[in-house]
Subunit: 393 residues, 2 copies
């Protein structure tokens, strides 16, 4: 997945940064000269009415890393803002801002950390240059599905590690959103064997990109809005994005013929809602409870929304005779797996907190996989056996 | 799954009814003479302080169908009660009652319908004699997983049908809990082929039971607390319950050697929290919103709790040399599938609202299955390929 779509170009103040540098450590490419810098964000914040403290009313600004209207992600952030406002009886009024409206998309972390704004909705792997441990709270290659991630976060020690990590940056994180299993991507040519990856020009961000590099691919990062032209011009041969719903929104199905699955690199990407920790600590226990409840409710909604819409969009794609949907060959998937394990082990050795996070993640994964093999996997395989069932047969 | 455990015997007023008659239409077997009847429930309700209406405080009694302490289910109901109380700032104070403490377990529906109590936490398939449509809002053989069910309820038209069905009984239902994929059950002998099912004495409730009957099994229903003695005496050869966590709590692993998967009959059982509709309608929009938010948050929690604990319990079972964990042979699973389809079609033809519910369910299932095959199923199969990944290799 990447967060940038061609829609960004139409959003005032929306900048499309390189995904290759999500830390915001380099000077951003400014488009149209409309980018709001951190200092300017503070000025923009000052333009809002002062909190009506006498009435106990606070206004929380939530900056997202998503262009307005991005399916599943923008809608999730909007729903969270509305739900917190409603749940607190408007004592906390959340305003949601698209990428660049108030803060640049990859600067939402700094803006919340410093208290310039109160909240962000984003993906934690964007902060991996601060600590590689952040990857584990979004998605890692051959890692957790959405359900597994929730089990680790809420009943496997994940939240405590995440709290410890984010507290270093004055941030309180909550797991609020999940895209579900992503697709492997769109290809202009078939990939039948490992040899197909040698020299393949592939667009993919994050740890999955490193896996593909080790298979000989030339991995580049492109903003969403640039993927279609790049596929058409031959600048790239393939690109992943999210899943049928978001991919069709971007028009990828019109630029490449082969659609491969599964997406080993993001098997259930968790998105987070984070709050400035000093603000969080200043809330009452009841308010913190309400926000946490909203967070977990949205996890149900967002995953359901992605799945329902992906199913619908896939139905359309399957009826399109120009598109061929293919499963990656097992030899390719095995190679993805081997290299993913290596990349993960290297990432997991980088610093003490990342090591502890990696160990917790792996321990849970090793315990969980036999269960998921007997439960979800065995059931879904059984359901796919050739028997008639209603209209299916 | 069944709801009765040996713990029930230790709960004052807890009765263990036959699962074969979940409608409560026959006279219940009374144990210890402590059963609280509907009339008595009203008397018990009267013993509570009158609602402090002047302060806007209301006391909601939630009766569950679960004995106290039943893993995953009691804990879910308790969490919901606490969360609603907290979310409403104690304006709605929910007291949660174990099976039989206030209302008999299968009479919670009538008690809420009539307004004797305000809420229940139960499984909708227990009301299937009122309408077979209720099955679709809990679990059906080869039906939805937990994620699929949430997608259908929230983004596939499921909630509207459920509201329409339950409104006939003055009830507002909410999906709040899911057990995840259940196991196939414990067997005292191997089942290697379809022939093994002829005459097999199997304990299973619900629509799955009808499937097994068509394969020649003698299906009985037994309260949870009676399963272990029945397996030991040879009165039954096999029994399903829930999954590793709940099964070990009941001691099934000490009474049968072979543990089969997957549980085709309950691939993601949804449990519900329902509210007397007149009371629901009398709530403010804000209060209804808070309760709905709590419901969806609990879906995340309960599924995560079941999965995390099932993984842990399975780890113990796998280390037990007396237990053999086996996958049902595909020939058996296919036969389960064929008969499930038939049973579902018959159930789905029973009355107009059930027909519409069946059609909605099947339409969503037919659209969804290709997506889940490419997403969850393909991913989990890829992850199970032989490659080294951390400690796995």
């Amino acid at each position: 997945m990447s967060i940038w779509t061609k829609k960004c170009r139409r959003v005032p103040g929306c900048e499309i940064p390189s995904e290759g540098d999500p830390s915001g450590s380099r000077a951003p490419i400014t488009r149209r000269g409309m980018i709001v810098k951190a200092g300017a964000a503070a000025a923009a914040a000052a333009a809002f009415p002062a909190p009506a403290i006498s009435q106990g009313i606070r206004e929380f600004k939530m900056a997202t890393s998503w262009p307005k209207g991005l399916p599943g992600l923008s809608s999730s952030a909007e729903r969270i803002g509305q739900a917190i406002t409603a749940a607190t009886g408007k004592r906390i009024q959340v305003s949601v801002f698209a990428a660049g409206e108030l803060v640049k998309p990859f600067e939402v972390f700094d803006a919340v950390s410093s208290g310039v704004i109160e909240m962000y909705h984003s993906a934690e792997y964007y902060w991996e240059r601060r600590s590689p441990a952040f990857n584990f709270f979004a998605a890692v290659p051959f890692g957790f599905t959405a359900d597994e991630m929730a089990a680790w976060i809420h009943f496997g020690g994940g939240q405590a590690l995440w709290d410890e990590l984010s507290a270093n940056y004055n941030i309180k994180p909550l797991l609020t959103t999940n895209t579900g299993v992503q697709m492997g991507g769109w290809f202009t040519k078939e990939v039948n064997s490992l040899q197909s990856y040698a020299g393949l020009k592939y667009r993919m961000p994050g740890l999955g990109a490193e896996v593909l590099r080790r298979l000989g691919a030339t991995v580049v990062n492109l903003p969403g809005g640039e993927i279609v032209p790049a596929l058409r011009s031959g600048a790239i041969d393939a690109s992943e994005w999210v899943g049928p719903w978001d991919d069709m929104y971007l028009g990828l199905h019109k630029a490449a013929k082969f659609y491969y699955y599964p997406g080993f690199h993001e098997p259930g990407t968790g998105l987070s809602t984070a709050i400035n920790k000093a603000r969080w600590d200043s809330l009452t226990a009841e308010e913190r409870g309400l926000i946490t409840t909203v967070a977990n409710a949205e996890y149900t909604y967002s995953l359901a929304e992605f799945n329902a819409n992906n199913a619908k969009s896939l139905q359309e794609l399957r009826q399109d005779k120009n598109i061929e949907i293919r499963k990656f060959d097992d030899s390719i998937l095995k190679a993805f797996g081997e290299h993913s394990g290596e990349v993960m082990a290297e990432v997991g050795a980088k610093d003490p907190l990342t090591r502890r996070t990696y160990q917790s993640y792996m321990e849970f994964r090793n315990r969980y996989t036999p269960w998921s093999d007997m439960a979800e996997r065995a059931y879904l395989n059984a359901r796919s056996l050739p028997f008639s069932y209603g209209d299916k047969g």
